[in-house]
Every structure is written in structure tokens, then in C-alpha cells.
């Protein structure tokens, strides 16, 4: 118990303290998670079932803390290079982390809503952190307006649930829904749709994705990385919990909607990414497409009611995706340090000057494309596996859509490697002087690199985490 409290309170204590403390703090916060995990016996249930600590939540807490840690390292040079408010920057990121940590354990409507909002509200501010920049302001306003809309949708959905059942805790709600034969009633479905729409903004699935490219483009790069990894994962965690704890009896309709959304998200994300010249927008659309992949197992699980396989696949995908995507943003950061351009075609032949960034680019982008032996292949593989596990038609069709999309993805994921390794340098491009890679960025690079490669060659390690989370989650 003490460890949990510490784990949650720790980040908050570091208000207004310099970067180093935040970084170390987030690293220390990792320790209780490990101890908890090592001594794990049974789920700990607190506050009458509102707050549960099981393997699922522990693993995802670990993921969130590690991702935040890497984001801090990415940020150090960024925040120092401009005269921004350092203290606030770290505080806001830590608050968002706290929200994400709460979501993983929340098992009632209120706790979850607070968690979701705590995780996303700081991001409105952070995405507009480049104050003088028009794009940054535009992106953050868009993000804010849609974010508020999504919060209200979620709240509306939650209030419908509460109104029907009079309960807050998920298991009670589910019991009442089933007992009174309301699981497939219009009210329950309406609230499911509202919640789905609200969370859809957070995880940027079609048709709720339009804010993502603009916000990603405008926000500072470390914030974008955090948005595309941690914020997205928070949304997915909330979705996984809600779908499997409340809406598991809601009939096939909801699942079929999700299947279609998942397939369309892949296509829209990938086909739009094909046309991008701005690397950040490319990654934005790529992360939309990846959201389609993460959603796919949950969607099919909703039809087959086999949440074990679905959660296993989604969590494994989330873990691997987190590291390779952070790596991909790091690559863009590194390359922009050499040639400050928003058109990636200006980076021709850059790998010769920063071979390390070149190698990072190959590893992370091809991992996103799912090429063995890099981690991404296993993430895609478990998704395909869960889609095909029941052999019914929706899973099969979605798997075929996924396979086609994997090929489309390759075309644009390979593009940056092609440009920096194979193209010849452009003559009219201004090069900057600071070509030395700062050590925090190197740490981010190597940590993500090792995790990406290890998860590809020995996927057992990560898939055991995914499996553990799915099994204990259902107990």
C-alpha cells in the first residue's frame, strides 16, 4: 500500500523543481512498480472497488513512467534552448503522468473521468508551448476545443450510465445492466457510443482524428512524442477497461462499428501519410494508422467476447509501439538539428553526416513498418493472431485489411531512410552547426533502440507482460 501511495504522490512533490529532479523522480517512481510486480500475489482493491492495482495496471503504470522519463530526456535540450518556463513544463508533464497512472487503476466512473482529464488537460497547455509560433497556437486551440468537446461527450456517456444504474463502480454497473436486461438497451448503447466518440478523440481514430496532424505539427517535438505515445495509450487503456468491464454484453453491434472504425482508421492514416512531406505530419498520420491496429483486437474481442486475447494483443502492441514511436520522434529531432527544415526531402544524404541518427532512423521506422527482426513485427503479429483466433469473418476481414495496410505503411516508413541514406544532398539547403548529439538524446535513442530490437528478437519478454496483464485483468 505504502508503495502505491508513494508511486502516485511522488511525481507531485516535485513542483517547480528543476529538470534533474523530475527525471530522477520519474525514475525512482519506477522502483515501487518493480517491487510491486515482483511481490505480486493478488489484486489489491481499494476504495470499495474504485481503485484496483493488478498486473494490468502495474505494467501500464511502468510503461507510462518510462515513457515520461524518456520524454523528459527528449525535452531537456528543447526547454533549455528557449527561454520557456521550465518548472511549469515539467510540472504539467508530471500531472499528465499522474492522470495516466490513475486511469490504469480506476474502476469507477468518477475516478476514471478525473484520470482522463488530468492526463489530457495539461497537454492543451503544452501543445501551445511555442508561444510565438502561429501553428503552435492554432494546433493547441484546435486540440483544446475538441478536447473539451470530447470530455463533455465522455461525461454525458458516464452520466447516462449512472442515471440508468445508479452505480459508479464498473462491476456494479455491469451487474445491474445484465440483471435488468439492459445491456443491449438503447440507453446503454447510446452511452457506449458517446464514450467511444469521446475517447476516440484521445486516441485519434477516424472520424475523430482531424486535430492530430495540426496539433502534432505545432507542438514542441517532445510534447508531440508524448501526445502520440502516452496520451494515446491513456485513451486506449480507458477504452480497454470500459469495453471489457461494462460493455462486454452489449451485443455484436458495437463490435462491428469498432471493426469498421479500425479498418477505416488504418486506411485513412496510411493513405494520408503517403502524401506528407513534413516528417511530423507523416508521423501524425502514421500514429493514426497505428491506432487502427491497436483498436483492431479490442474491436474483435467485443464481438467474440474473448477479451483475454484482445487485451493481450493490444497491450503488447502499446508497449512496443511506445518505444519505437518515441525513437521515431527522436530521429526527426536529431535530423532537424542538422538541417532545420520542415520538408523531409531537404534531408538528402544526411546519414553520412550523422550515421548514428541514420541507424536510428532505419531501426525505428522499419520497426514501425513491422519488418522482422525489429520489434514492430511482433506487435503486428499478435494483433493478427488475436484477429484470426476465432476464425470468424470480421476478424478475418480485418486481418486482410491489416495486411494490406502493412504494405502501404512500408512505402512511407521507408521514405525517410531512403532520403537520408540514398538521396544526394540538396545544394540550396542551410545546414546548422550543432551536429553533436547531446547525451540525453543519446540515452533516449539507445534505450528505445535496445527495447525495440530486443522485443523483436526475444518477443517472449514483452509478450509475457502482455499475457500477464490480460490474464490477471480478467480475474
Amino acid at each position: 500500500m505504502a508503495a502505491i501511495t508513494l508511486d502516485i504522490l511522488l511525481p507531485r512533490k516535485f513542483k517547480f523543481i528543476i529538470a534533474m529532479v523530475s527525471i530522477l523522480g520519474s525514475l525512482f517512481a519506477f522502483l515501487p512498480i518493480i517491487f510491486q510486480f515482483a511481490n505480486y500475489t493478488t489484486p489489491e482493491i481499494m476504495f470499495e472497488g474504485s481503485y484496483v492495482i493488478d498486473k494490468f495496471s502495474l505494467i501500464l503504470k511502468g510503461l507510462f513512467i518510462l515513457v515520461t522519463y524518456l520524454t523528459f530526456l527528449l525535452s531537456v535540450n528543447f526547454v533549455e534552448s528557449d527561454e520557456y518556463y521550465q518548472g511549469e513544463y515539467y510540472f504539467l508533464l508530471l500531472s499528465s503522468l499522474l492522470g495516466a497512472l490513475v486511469v490504469t487503476s480506476s474502476r469507477d466512473l468518477l475516478t476514471m473521468f478525473i484520470g482522463i482529464e488530468l492526463a489530457s488537460t495539461p497537454m492543451f497547455l503544452l501543445s501551445g508551448w511555442k508561444k510565438g509560433d502561429q501553428k503552435s497556437n492554432e494546433g493547441s486551440i484546435k486540440f483544446f476545443l475538441l478536447g473539451v468537446l470530447s470530455a463533455s461527450l465522455i461525461l454525458y456517456g458516464f452520466s447516462l450510465l449512472y442515471g440508468v444504474t445508479g452505480k459508479l463502480v464498473f462491476s456494479d454497473i455491469a451487474n445491474i445492466l445484465i440483471q435488468q436486461d439492459l445491456a443491449q438497451s438503447p440507453v446503454a448503447l447510446l452511452s457506449a457510443i458517446l464514450i467511444l466518440a469521446g475517447i476516440g478523440f484521445k486516441i485519434s481514430i477516424v472520424p475523430f482524428h482531424s486535430w492530430a496532424p495540426d496539433t502534432y505539427e505545432g507542438a514542441p517535438l517532445p510534447v508531440t512524442a508524448y501526445l502520440s505515445v502516452s496520451s494515446k495509450a491513456t485513451g486506449f487503456v480507458a477504452l480497454i477497461i470500459l469495453m471489457s468491464k461494462i460493455f462486454f454484453e452489449s451485443g455484436d453491434g458495437l463490435g462491428i462499428v469498432l471493426v469498421f472504425i479500425s479498418g477505416i482508421t488504418m486506411f485513412v492514416g496510411n493513405l494520408s501519410a503517403l502524401q506528407q512531406t513534413n516528417p511530423v505530419r507523416l508521423l501524425a498520420y502514421s500514429s493514426i494508422a497505428q491506432a487502427g491496429f491497436i483498436l483492431a483486437p479490442i474491436a474483435v474481442a467485443n464481438i467474440t467476447n474473448n477479451f483475454e486475447d484482445g487485451v493481450y494483443a493490444s497491450v503488447t502492441y502499446l508497449i512496443i509501439y511506445a518505444f519505437m514511436n518515441i525513437g521515431a520522434f527522436l530521429v526527426i529531432n536529431l535530423l532537424q538539428r542538422n538541417i532545420d527544415s520542415e520538408n523531409m526531402y531537404d534531408w538528402g544524404g544526411l546519414a553520412k553526416e550523422t550515421p548514428l541518427a541514420g541507424i536510428f532512423a532505419v531501426i525505428f521506422f522499419f520497426s514501425l513498418a513491422g519488418i522482422p527482426p525489429l520489434g514492430g513485427w511482433f506487435a503486428k503479429f499478435v494483433v493478427f493472431r488475436s484477429l484470426l483466433s476465432t476464425g470468424e469473418i470480421f476478424g478475418l476481414s480485418l486481418a486482410i485489411v491489416g495486411a494490406i495496410n502493412a504494405v502501404i505503411g512500408l512505402v512511407y516508413y521507408s521514405r525517410i531512410s531512403k532520403i537520408i541514406w540514398m538521396d544526394s544532398p540538396k545544394e540550396d539547403v542551410q545546414k546548422t552547426e550543432n551536429s553533436i548529439i547531446p547525451s540525453p538524446l543519446k540515452v533516449v535513442g539507445f534505450v528505445s533502440l535496445i527495447l525495440t530490437i530486443v522485443s523483436g528478437i526475444f518477443p517472449g519478454i514483452f509478450s509475457n507482460l502482455g499475457e500477464a496483464s490480460s490474464i490477471f485483468f480478467n480475474s
Partner: protein, 519 residues
């Protein structure tokens, strides 16, 4: 269970060396080259030791392997082993890698960067060797895909920089860039679906990815109906792209033409075999019923490939493109042999694969070297090569003869026996289709002889063109000869003693055929 140590070394030593090479500073080029060569030689040496340990009296059994848990949550294991079918291909792979590295000592195209090239060759070798020893579908898949990245970069970085227009693209594009991504996308398209097929087998086959276990299940009739048809279709897609079979072959001429010499050699000699090996190792024994159902279609496609490949060759002016299309034809013979589903046909395919690897590998070595010397591959400008570069010319002439299937040389057996197999396919198969395919194949051999002799006439014979007379042209140097002569010797040896290959493959093939098709 044995330790599988030898095979593990053969697979992973190159990869470990590649990582080691990453750590050597770029400037110490000689050290990099020597480490690479040493590692490849050692790998080849270990593969020879493995071959010596191999029990040829039980060549049908999987030997010298091991099985260790790898991804426990999906029940996928590190399961490896070799039998008479994989052994010759494994040796071919380790051997050609050594030669490719020797050749690269002095013949790196722009931008030199020996460090990059050497580490890519080594990573590629791990992928190739791994595919031939993997006995777990997921392991197989990982190795099968591992070859893509190195080959993509080999073509893309060291490839042909000529700018060409491509229909469907707005702007002109350098050959290497177009060819590399086309190669990548085609193969990934095939293998993405192949992976779905593997998963299908896994769920219907008691959740196992083990190839031997799935073969047991398959031959006892566990996979039937629409399910089996679908799975065979996706496996076919995955392997046929790699072979490549007509009409999925279009990436091959581009990739070969654009690739640097070493890339073409490894692509032709080993990478294409991964596809046909996949048919023999996975598709036929696990889904025998479907193999019977699909065999006529495969035979017809192979026959079309043979004729199409030879006719396309007759239309080429580019020397490397001609050899690339000849690969389509030769792999057509291999697939025709496999489609007959008889022990003669599959044996023909096995020796055909090895022979094609040696002969076409050599052809690409020689043509690549000539392209480097003359700075052109246009056969209209070449001519009188025998007089200008006597050594290179002699080897080109010899190899062309071997490639057209001259009796006494290695290429003969694959073609001849494939036709024999197609004449007398597995009982129950449509005899008309197979005999027509055989006739088409026979016409193909004539056409093959036609285009190769014509090529020789245009390139090797006659008087040198004026533009070459006052230029100083270098004939094959020692590095090249060291890389080429062993292949010449092997061509003759296998031609005269085909038992070198059949001794290993025959028992394994008979075991496969009798288990799967009862014939």
C-alpha cells in the same frame, strides 16, 4: 535432442560479426574486410563440419537440430534442423557468401563504404542460413523477412544511378530507388499474407508452429476444405513472389538490373531459392491435398514463365536484364519440377536450385564485372569481348553454355529431369496439362539456347567496336578469379557427378513424396 550448436553457429556467427563490425571505426577498412571474410570462412567451415556429421543414410530425417522455447506465450520455439533437402542449399548459401565477400574486397561500387556493405552481406547471410534451417513457422518467417532490409539497402545505396522514367510516376527516378522499393513492397505483400496463412495453420493445428508436427497433422488429413484452399493460396502468394513465378515476377528484372554485382549474385543465387524451398519444405508436405489441386495451375504458370522468360530475353539489349529474365525461365523449370509432385520432379527442382545458384550467380559476377569495366550493359555497344578481355570472355562463354543446359554441366540435370517429371506426374494429375507444360518447357530449352548463344555472339564474338580500341580495359583480376573459378569447378563437378546433390536430396525427397502423396 541434440544441441544444434553447429547449425546455431552457422546461422548467428555472421550476425554477431556484423554487430562487431559496427564497432570498428570506418577508417580501418582492411580490418573490416578481413573480419568479414574470416567470419564467412568460419561459417562455411562450420557448415562443412555439419555436412560431415550429417547422416546421409538417413537423409530423410531432420538432423543435428534442437528445440528450445522461444516465445512461450504463443508456443513458438527455436526449432532448427536439416535434412537432405536443406543441406545442399545451406552449403550453397555459406559458400556463395564467401565468394561474394572476396569479390567485394576490390570491387565496391560508389559510394564505397566497405563497412556498410560488409555488415549488410553478413546480416543477409544470417537470414539466408536461418531460413534453410528453421523448423518453426515463426522462426522461418523472421529469417525469411530478415533478408529484406539488407537487400533493400544494397540495391538502394550501391545500385544503378541511371535516371529512368517509370510509367505511373510523375517524375523520373533513379533506377536503384525505384527497384529497391519495388522489391521490398512486392515481397512484403506476399509475406504479409503468408503470415496470415501461418496463423491459420496454427489455430487449426493444435496451436503449434512446429513444421514437423504440422507435417504429421497435414499428412493425416487435418487440413481440408475451404480453409486449406485459402491457406495454400496465401502461402502460394508468399513463396511465388519470392521465386518469382510469372506473373509476380516483375520486381525481379528491375532489382537485378539495379543491384550492385554482389547484390545480384546473392539475390539470384540464394534469395530466389527461399521461395521454392518454402514450397518444398512447407506448402507441399503440410497441405498435400491442396498441392495436388494446385499442381496443374503451378505447372501452367511455370510453363508460361519459361516461355515468357526466354522470349523476354530475346528482346533485351541490357546484359544484366537478360540474365535476370533468364532467371525467370530457370526458376520456371524448378517450379515445373516441384509441380509434378514426383520424386524425380522434386529432385530435379533441388538440383535445379543449386545449379541455378551457381551458374546464374557466376553469370551475374561476370556481367557485373563487365558492366564495371565497360561502363555500359548495352549489348549493342559491346562486342569482341573475347579479344578485349580473354579471361572474362572465356568464363562468360563457359557459364552461358552451362546455363543453357549443356549435358555434362550442372544446368543440364535440373532442366532434363524437370521435363521428365512433368511427362510423368503424380498419378491422378491431369496428364494433358502436364504434357503440354512439358512441351512448352522443351520449347523453352530451345529458346534458352537461342538467346544465350545470341548473347554470346553479340557480346563475346566479332571484332571489338571502335570506341573500345583506344581505351585501357582491365581483364579479370585475382580477386575476381578467386571468386569465379570455384564456381566453374562446381559446375563441372555437379554436371559430371550429380550424385553430389542427389546423394543428399534423394532419400529426403522420396520420404516427403511418399508421406504426402503416397507415391
Amino acid at each position: 535432442m541434440e544441441s544444434g550448436l553447429g547449425l546455431t553457429i552457422v546461422v548467428f556467427l555472421p550476425l554477431v560479426s556484423a554487430i562487431f563490425i559496427f564497432l570498428i571505426p570506418k577508417k580501418q577498412e582492411m580490418l573490416i574486410k578481413l573480419v568479414t571474410l574470416g567470419s564467412a570462412l568460419l561459417t562455411f567451415g562450420v557448415s562443412l563440419i555439419v555436412a560431415l556429421q550429417f547422416d546421409f543414410y538417413n537423409a530423410g530425417d531432420l538432423q543435428l537440430g534442437t528445440k528450445v522455447s522461444w516465445i512461450s506465450s504463443i508456443n513458438s520455439n527455436y526449432e532448427i534442423g536439416i535434412d537432405g533437402i536443406s543441406l545442399p542449399l545451406l552449403l550453397l548459401s555459406t559458400f556463395i557468401s564467401v565468394l561474394a565477400i572476396i569479390y567485394s574486397f576490390e570491387h565496391l561500387p560508389e559510394p564505397k563504404n566497405a563497412k556498410g556493405m560488409m555488415s549488410l552481406i553478413l546480416i543477409l547471410e544470417t537470414g539466408m542460413n536461418g531460413t534453410f534451417v528453421a523448423l518453426d513457422l515463426i522462426l522461418f518467417f523472421v529469417f525469411f523477412e530478415l533478408v529484406l532490409l539488407p537487400m533493400y539497402f544494397m540495391i538502394g545505396i550501391w545500385g544503378d544511378k541511371t535516371v529512368r522514367s517509370v510509367s505511373g510516376l510523375k517524375n523520373d527516378i533513379e533506377t536503384r530507388l525505384y527497384a529497391s522499393i519495388k522489391f521490398f513492397v512486392f515481397t512484403l505483400f506476399g509475406s504479409a499474407f503468408m503470415l496470415l496463412g501461418f496463423l491459420g495453420l496454427y489455430f487449426r493445428g493444435n496451436r503449434t508452429f512446429s513444421i514437423p508436427e504440422l507435417i504429421e497433422l497435414g499428412s493425416s488429413g487435418a487440413f481440408t476444405g475451404t480453409f486449406a484452399t485459402l491457406v495454400f493460396a496465401v502461402l502460394f502468394l508468399g513463396f511465388a513472389v519470392k521465386v518469382p513465378m510469372w506473373p509476380l515476377h516483375t520486381w525481379l528484372p528491375d532489382a537485378h538490373t539495379a543491384a550492385p554485382t554482389v547484390g545480384s549474385v546473392l539475390l539470384a543465387a540464394i534469395l530466389l531459392k527461399l521461395g521454392s524451398y518454402g514450397f518444398v519444405r512447407i506448402a507441399l508436405p503440410i497441405l498435400p491435398e491442396q498441392a495436388v489441386a494446385w499442381a496443374p495451375a503451378i505447372a501452367v504458370l511455370s510453363a508460361i514463365g519459361i516461355i515468357y522468360g526466354s522470349l523476354a530475353c530475346l528482346a533485351q539489349t541490357d546484359l544484366k536484364r537478360l540474365i535476370a529474365f533468364s532467371s525467370v525461365g530457370h526458376m520456371g523449370f524448378v517450379m515445373l519440377g516441384i509441380s509434378s509432385l514426383t520424386s524425380i520432379g522434386i529432385n530435379a527442382a533441388m538440383i535445379g536450385m543449386v545449379a541455378h545458384g551457381i551458374i546464374t550467380g557466376l553469370l551475374f559476377f561476370v556481367s557485373g564485372s563487365m558492366a564495371h569495366t565497360y561502363h555500359t550493359r548495352d549489348m549493342g555497344r559491346l562486342g569482341g569481348n573475347m579479344k578485349l578481355l580473354p579471361k572474362t570472355g572465356a568464363i562468360l562463354a563457359f557459364t552461358a553454355m552451362a546455363s543453357l543446359g549443356l549435358p555434362g554441366l550442372a544446368g543440364f540435370w535440373g532442366e532434363f529431369m524437370a521435363l521428365l517429371g512433368a511427362y510423368n506426374p503424380l498419378p491422378g494429375l491431369n496428364i494433358t496439362i502436364f504434357r503440354s507444360s512439358m512441351v512448352a518447357g522443351a520449347i523453352g530449352t530451345v529458346l534458352t539456347a537461342g538467346y544465350l548463344l545470341w548473347m554470346l555472339q553479340r557480346v563475346n564474338l566479332g571484332e571489338p567496336k571502335e570506341e573500345w580500341l583506344d581505351k585501357e580495359l582491365h581483364d579479370a583480376d585475382n580477386y575476381e578469379l578467386v571468386a569465379w573459378i570455384p564456381l566453374v569447378i562446381l559446375t563441372v563437378l555437379i554436371g559430371v557427378f550429380p550424385k553430389l546433390i542427389f546423394g543428399a536430396t534423394n532419400d529426403a525427397v522420396i520420404a516427403l513424396v511418399s508421406k504426402a502423396f503416397g507415391g
